[in-house]
């Protein structure tokens, strides 16, 4: 009797163990890895969905900007005029004489001093008299300064208006670094109030670009986005 009970108990325990083993093996080797991979894919899907939502918002913003393309090309044109990719001196000289005429000032001389690469620290270094004196090493993103000396004649009031126009109307960004004011050639008295002669040291800037970049910029300026 006891032997029979032992046999039955043995079979029951063995059966339970085999069932547990089957379940454990199935879970560890097949079910859990598959569910884990599915969970990873779910996380990946959520991340992709968030990325796509951001892309949709970005595209909407870009579409709105594209609708204002003339404003953007105008901004680009102004930015390139402020710091052109070439010397820009012919256009700058024409601009100076035009602004001189507009303010009643006679621009009699424009002399180019030198072209100097700009180092970022040179602009903020203590006590530096001019960028031409700094030992420039690596230019900042290909930025160069061009020193000019401009001779102009006119009344003090007109000369002040001329300087203001050069500085603020641009479009070339111009830094005034020094100025000598003396009575003009037509002055009847030794005073700068009447006819004044201005010798102004100016600095303008250029950011040279490669031919490929220039072609691309010209396309963008013309509104050709290549779409």
């Amino acid at each position: 009797m006891t032997g029979r009970l032992n046999d039955q108990r043995l079979w029951l325990i063995s059966g339970a163990l085999v069932a547990a083993l089957i379940f454990l093996v199935s879970w560890l080797l097949f079910i859990s890895p598959t569910l884990s991979a599915a969970s990873d894919l779910d996380d990946q899907t959520i991340a992709s969905r968030q990325q796509n939502d951001a892309l949709v918002a970005k595209i909407k913003t870009l579409e709105a900007k594209r609708a204002q393309l003339p404003r953007y090309t105008s901004s680009l044109r102004a930015a390139l005029a402020a710091i052109p990719y070439d010397s820009g001196l012919p256009a700058f000289t024409r601009r100076l004489t035009a602004q001189g005429k507009a303010t009643g000032v006679d621009v009699s001389s424009v002399v180019v001093g030198g072209v100097v690469p700009i180092e970022p620290s040179a602009v903020s270094s203590a006590g530096s008299a001019s960028t031409s004196e700094s030992a420039a090493t690596t230019p900042s993103g290909g930025l160069f300064s061009i020193q000019l000396t401009v001779q102009s004649d006119g009344s003090l009031t007109n000369q002040i208006a001329f300087l203001t126009a050069v500085r603020t109307l641009g479009p070339r960004r111009t830094l005034i670094t020094a100025m000598e004011i003396s009575p003009g050639t037509g002055a009847k008295v030794a005073s700068v109030d009447g006819a004044a002669s201005f010798t102004t040291q100016l600095t303008v800037f250029s950011a040279p670009q490669s031919p490929v970049q220039i072609r691309q910029l010209n396309k963008l300026v013309s509104g050709d986005l290549g779409n």
Binding site: L41, S48, R49, L55, S124, G127, S145, V192
Partner: protein
């Protein structure tokens, strides 16, 4: 072996099926045990098959979840590709923006020492008394920012503590010696003018010739082209 069975009293055998009421289980116990064990083994086998089927069903569900998640991920990846392609149509706008921002940063950097020199000249002219004239004005601006207070003879007179950025020298004439003090007083009230010194003031042939120098501080920097100011 002979077995005698005593008939119980009052017992009367059924007349329809004589001999059927006499039952004796002659099965050996070993056979009974073996049969019970067989039944148990059969039941355990069925249970094990059920466990296997359950595991298979669970695995099937896991595979279904995986396929479904894979499809969703693939759909989102396709959508990403499509949206990225759409966004690339606007690369030109992005390039315009980045070019403009880059140039604006360069402008802000090179123009951080910008001074409204015309305004300086206008302030000097406004401070000049009517009895005086200027024969020359010289303005020199530093392109860096001095971190020290002004140096030179007048260093001790500048209590503003502001960095200096340039110097102005004026020469002119007036009717008398008293003209220059008024000019100097007015110049000292101009924001950004420090160390205003009348370096010479002498009467000659009825006219007073003077020289004045002063220093300009960083208060005169316009910061007009700083990033965010929008004045390209």
């Amino acid at each position: 072996m002979t077995i005698e069975l005593a008939r119980t009293e009052g017992y009367s055998p059924p007349t329809s099926r004589p001999g059927w009421d006499i039952v004796a289980d002659m099965t050996p116990p070993e056979l009974v045990t073996r049969r019970r064990l067989d039944i148990l083994r059969r039941r355990i086998a069925i249970a094990l098959v059920l466990v296997v089927l359950l595991c298979a069903a669970a695995f099937g569900y896991a595979m279904f979840r995986h396929m479904s998640a894979d499809d969703d991920a693939a759909a989102e990846a396709t959508r990403t590709t499509s949206l990225t392609r759409s966004a690339s149509r606007f690369a030109g706008i992005t390039q315009i923006e980045s070019t403009v921002d880059g140039l604006d940063s360069k402008v802000a950097m090179v123009m951080q020492t910008d001074v409204d020199v015309a305004r300086v000249i206008a302030a000097i002219r406004k401070a000049l008394p009517n009895s005086m004239t200027m024969q020359s004005i010289s303005v020199t601006l530093d392109q860096g920012i001095s971190t020290e207070a002004s140096t030179g003879v007048s260093a001790g007179l500048d209590a503003s503590g502001r960095p200096t950025i340039g110097t102005v020298t004026i020469s002119g004439s007036g009717r008398g010696l008293d003209d220059l003090p008024a000019f100097v007083d007015d110049l000292m009230t101009v924001r950004g003018f420090v160390n205003v010194l009348p370096t010479s003031n002498e009467v000659s042939d009825g006219n007073a010739q003077f020289n004045v120098t002063f220093t300009l501080t960083d208060l005169l920097r316009t910061h007009r082209f700083d990033v965010g100011k929008g004045a390209r």
